[in-house]
């Protein structure tokens, strides 16, 4: 980047918050996937005004802009594929207000999701969306990807809680949408366009989320199955039984074992599948009755063991285990491709069976876990990027997983977003018409294609080589 532009950017933020040294560019070159490419520069602003000033400079100079929070994403959404300027929003981490009268909270984009949850819970309130990465992910990143989590089965995803946004547009103008209101039928709701737009339409710098009352009771149970198919049948049967559980999570045998290696919680290592199910509510009796009905269904399908958490500590240990699964898979192989397909609830057994067949077809370990209750599964393909043949097989396996989900009436991503990893399949999932309309919308907001360019939309290179073409420092594309 030209020294005059760097100097101009340095005047916008406090000293030390423009990252241009070699080691610093490496630090902003990756996300939660295996992809990596150095940006030309990274900058860490402290306010919406600073973000707007930065964007005005970048826009004038036609520099690509990639906004990021914790960059823990699993779809490649914050990789600076074509270089450009990373805007790191992690420093904007202030919870501006918790408004108990209007049951909402105002938070800057860099607030860590868990910290927002803990703050509102102290006031008897509840922010339900709970991505497994809640300990590290930011609320801005959650909005960008329309993040989900276990509790979204009952409570809905990030989109269902966003009622207000402050967005810096590609022009550098600041757009305020919505407010502390939960109903709004006034014209087009542009707000919803930004949720899940992965930084391609604007940069979200502040969010207003609505809250719920904190449920007074939570009952959690762990159910063990000797057969994965039985567990997946139990999921369908529970969801069809008239109960809406707070969570209904599935972990297969491989994921149980890696997480045991990390935490030593005492999960049964010989299980082929676990269900982690929970009900919450205003009183313990009703919640417990629901959990008992669910475990009864599991017993009927041959569950080998059932255990209801007796203390908050025991429940927390179970949830820590579940939240750790994705990253703990790093213990098995150097790289993983964490998929995020979603299918109609009734098709969960078929989707799990399809993943099993694909794993056999390409001789790859593909452990499965996820939010089985809402049809959102995380098959994780484990591999070693240094093995070209393996990468080729991973590519085919990922393709087949996407297509199996689409065939079953599902789609590519339930909560991670498209980023770079799923973009070549977007038209297969949505149809050319929908993708074309979305492109038109992108052009309206970002005529020069500067906001996270290349993400979400198909590149035109096609499905062949969609994985091996992605940038890595040591791979084919120069970093």
């Amino acid at each position: 980047m030209q020294p005059e532009i760097v100097a101009e950017l340095k005047r916008i933020v406090a000293p030390g918050y423009v990252h241009d040294a070699p080691s610093e560019l490496i630090s902003y070159s990756f996300d939660g996937t295996f992809q990596q490419r150095r940006p030309d520069l990274a900058i860490t602003p402290a306010s919406t005004a600073e973000v707007a000033a930065i964007v005005r400079v970048a826009s004038r100079e036609k520099i690509p802009i990639i906004a990021r929070g914790a960059s823990s994403g699993l779809a490649g959404g914050t990789i600076p594929e074509s270089g450009g300027l990373i805007i790191n929003l992690a420093r904007m981490d202030r919870i501006v207000e918790i408004d108990t009268a209007n049951v909402c909270a105002v938070a800057q984009a860099g607030v860590v999701t868990l910290q927002l949850q803990q703050a509102v819970e102290k006031m008897g309130l509840f922010y339900p969306p709970d991505p497994a990465s809640s300990r590290q992910s930011t609320i801005g990143g959650n909005v960008a990807t329309n993040a989900g989590g276990p509790r979204c089965l009952k409570y809905g995803v990030t989109r269902d809680y966003v009622i207000g946004l402050t967005v810096v547009l590609a022009s550098g103008e600041v757009l305020r949408l919505g407010g502390k209101i939960t109903k709004n039928a006034t014209g087009y709701q542009l707000l919803h366009l930004f949720v899940g737009s992965e930084g391609t339409l604007g940069i979200v710098t502040e969010v207003i989320v609505k809250l719920a009352p904190l449920p007074r009771a939570r009952v959690t149970a762990l159910v063990v199955f000797d057969e994965l198919t039985r567990a997946s049948q139990a999921v369908s049967k529970i969801m069809g039984s008239g109960i809406l559980p707070a969570t209904l999570e599935l972990m297969d045998g491989t994921t149980v074992n890696v997480v045991e290696d990390f935490l030593h919680t005492g999960l049964p290592r010989d299980a082929e599948a676990l269900l982690l199910l929970e009900q919450d509510g205003a009183d313990e009796v009703t919640a417990r009755a629901d959990v008992e009905r669910m475990t009864e269904i599991c017993r009927g399908l041959g569950a080998s063991h059932m255990q209801v958490a007796v203390s908050a500590a025991e429940r927390d240990a179970l949830w820590l285990a579940r939240r750790s699964v994705s990253a703990a898979l790093g213990r098995l192989r150097p790289n993983k491709l964490g998929e995020d397909v979603v299918v109609p609830k009734s098709e969960i057994p078929a989707m799990i069976a399809a993943v099993g067949e694909i794993a056999t077809r390409y001789s790859l370990p593909i452990p499965v876990f996820g939010h089985a209750g809402d049809g959102n599964l995380h098959p994780n393909i484990l591999f070693d990027l240094r093995d070209a043949d393996e990468v080729r097989r991973v590519e085919l396996a990922a393709r087949d997983i996407f297509r199996a989900a689409i065939r079953l009436g599902g789609t590519l991503s339930g909560e991670h977003g498209v980023g770079t990893l799923k973009r070549e399949f977007l038209a297969e999932a949505q149809g050319e018409l929908a993708v074309g309309l979305a492109r038109s919308i992108k052009t309206v907001f970002d005529p020069d294609n500067l906001l996270n360019p290349g993400k979400v939309f198909p590149t035109g290179r096609g499905v062949e080589g969609f994985l091996s073409d992605l940038p890595t420092l040591s791979g084919s594309t120069p970093g």
């Binding site: 490496i26 823990s72 868990l114 990465s133 590290q136 990253a327 150097p334 040591s474």
Partner: protein
Amino acid sequence: MKATPLAAEYDNMLRCIRCAACLTSCPTYVVTHKEEEGPRGRIAIMRAIVEGHLDITADGITHLDNCLLCEACTNVCPAGVQMEQIGIAFRETLAEQTHRQPPLAARLAFDWLFGDLAHFRLLARAMWLYQRSGVQWLARHMGIVRLLGVRDMEALLPRIPDRFVVPGGQTVGQGERVQIFAGCIMSTAFAATTEATARVVAAFGCQAEMTARQVCCGALQAHSGDVPRAQELARVNLDAFGDGGEPIVVNAAGCGAMLKHYGQLLPDDARAERFAQRVKDVSEFLATRAAVRPPREVVASVAIQDPCHLLHAQRISAAPRSLLGAIPGVRLTEIGERDICCGSAGIYNVTHAEMSSELQVRKCASIVATGCDTVVTGNPGCLVQIQAGLPNCVTVRHIVDLLDEAYAE
């Protein structure tokens, strides 16, 4: 890939799946929000160096040196990255490749000082003289301390006691034989606490021995990248403590964590891993045993400050809580952000005064917010760092001193 200590940690680095779970546990990230000041960024920097995509440059050294080696990230890493090993390997590689070494005087001092506890005691005695003779008063009031630019460092000096512990095989109490690791700082600046350690161990039905010929644990040396010198010290300690089965009880969390790593430090010496298995933090050891007499009442509202090298490196948090909870009159409170370092981190408060001070302020604010009258910790660095940052109405005590008040005869 060049064969360096850093390259030897490559598989360890590859475990990092870049999930970012470590970010909110990292003191320097939490303060700065910069990726290059967090564990994931640091691993990426070191990995790029090993892979040949990045040279070792001044900016990289700064970001890697800013790591406190507090192990909070290792503790929360689902993928199993061992950060301290990578951090030490980097410092070792840097020392080898750039011949980066402290000034000769400092090196000689390091050699001489830590090679023999008697030398360390001599230095501590000199500091005692400085504090008691009026020189300190003069130096402070005439501005010499400030002129020398060592005001922060000087203020952190604990008050040196009149009497030191000289480990010579002396014992306290009757029962199972236990060897006490007295340490360099703990046997001098905190000699009273180390004497109390022997008394408390005795009050739990053991014979506590101040084992002769022991030396410094080597943690400061290893953390600054001087692994050979740390290995030398470890060998002296292996000889001193023998290859028997006695528990080795330590009252400094930093030393305890280092001693528990002797197996990795000296992989070719079979005694080292056996030694490491015998090492117990004093709270860990006492929590598994019953006291001879019931405790006396100690009325205090106590906040527990977990030393990083106890909570993260040794994964001990229940033991101090159960020991203190058993004392009548003690009301326990938890401080916010208990997993974030206080900024002491060995000699970090001297080498990185600004970051250390930010962390100290943050920690002390969390402590004051509990409304406690006493903070209990288990590491000399934390004791000094926190006391220096707290108002006078809050007392900072080593856990052993509080246990001594409750249990000693």
